[in-house]
Symmetry: C2
Subunit: 185 residues, 2 copies
DNA sequence: AATTAGATAGACCGATTGATCTACTGTCAA
DNA sequence: TTGACAGTAGATCAATCGGTCTATCTAATT
């Protein structure tokens, strides 16, 4: 049998799910109820709701997902980058898709001092490094600028698909990603 | 002297400013205070906070801004489209920039029945028509798909610039917009 | 001058927010 | 057995939320 995860893990899992489906403004009560955890445990482990939300973003493993998708696409940098947009098309086509967790946190949390902002920035910087590395291997003349373009495309897909998923923005972006890759022919 | 606008206009102005700088979760009290309007007037004119927020989006005139920017760029469709991204670069470089009002509303308001969602959709559909018209004049072989690409770029710029404004995402997107325009050579 | 509609001021409501607190339970090690 | 500790359960707190209410005032219409 599988041992039930500890309160800390249960809190993270519940918060991860609820903050995505309901937004970061879910009540603490709802998270506690779904995690089946005592109120005190939340403040013991994370100091408060802000700390929990930030830790959800930090431990989300979003970068690993991108890495895995690219690794499954093989060795060719071109195929690896394009595979990201194929995956985005799958993700944004699901009914449960509700936008990018990081962008949503950035736009929803008004307070500039909220610890979540640092996690969002760290994530996007990490993604930038990831893409720049691929472009470097591909022989792109300006991997940094090219990665900026890819990030705009990714964020654009995730933002636009919330309102107009039927437009299949990931496919539209895929074609433009080919243009980015063509820069380093 | 200029006559003071009526309560309805003052409410819209205050809500427009506060929902952008503080997010749509600003309290009704803050809006009433800044508008210097009685509580009752809000419910008389808009039925409630939801109605006010939706009307702010509907009456924002965002499409007119895009039209104006393009008109000031002259007649050439290519120049008109690229001018949009030059303007986006200016907007996203301002310290007061806090992201796209429509995307923020879409991501922040969890309730699918919120009247704001219809306004967001109407705005983006209108923008799509606007861009498709330019591409048609430009001789683009698939104006609808091309407009989808431009919208992804625009949303991407506005989403990405919140976290990484120094990357100048509008300039990165501008180069890709040229690729979109080149499709209809 | 009388009537009426719109605006103002502010008390008030129930619900919910995030957070703190005390008291109790179970487990494991010394 | 004792003590330490993490977790549970739940009362409780002040603050805030959106919304309704009554009462008063004002300005335009009749």
């Amino acid at each position: 049998m599988t041992t039930r995860p500890g309160p800390r893990e249960r809190l993270l899992d519940a918060a991860r799910e609820l903050t995505y489906s309901q937004g970061v403004h879910v009540g603490v009560d709802a998270i506690l109820k779904q995690a089946d955890v005592a109120r005190r445990s939340l403040y013991q482990h994370f100091g408060g709701k802000d700390g929990l939300v930030a830790e959800v973003l930090r431990s989300d493993g979003g970068l690993d997902r991108y890495r895995r998708v690219m690794d499954e696409a093989g060795d060719d940098p071109r195929e690896r980058v394009l595979a990201v947009f194929d995956e985005l098309d799958r993700i944004t086509s699901q009914p449960s898709f509700r936008g990018c967790r990081y962008t949503a946190a950035e736009l929803t949390l008004t307070d500039p001092g909220h610890p979540a902002h640092a996690e969002v920035r760290a994530f996007k910087e990490g993604l930038h490094r990831l893409m720049a590395a691929e472009l470097t291997r591909h022989g792109h003349p300006a991997p940094g600028a090219g990665a900026d373009q890819l990030l705009v495309l990714i964020d654009g897909v995730l933002a636009h698909a919330v309102t107009r998923p039927d437009a299949r923005p990931a496919l539209a972006a895929r074609a433009l990603a080919e243009a980015v890759l063509a820069s380093g022919a």
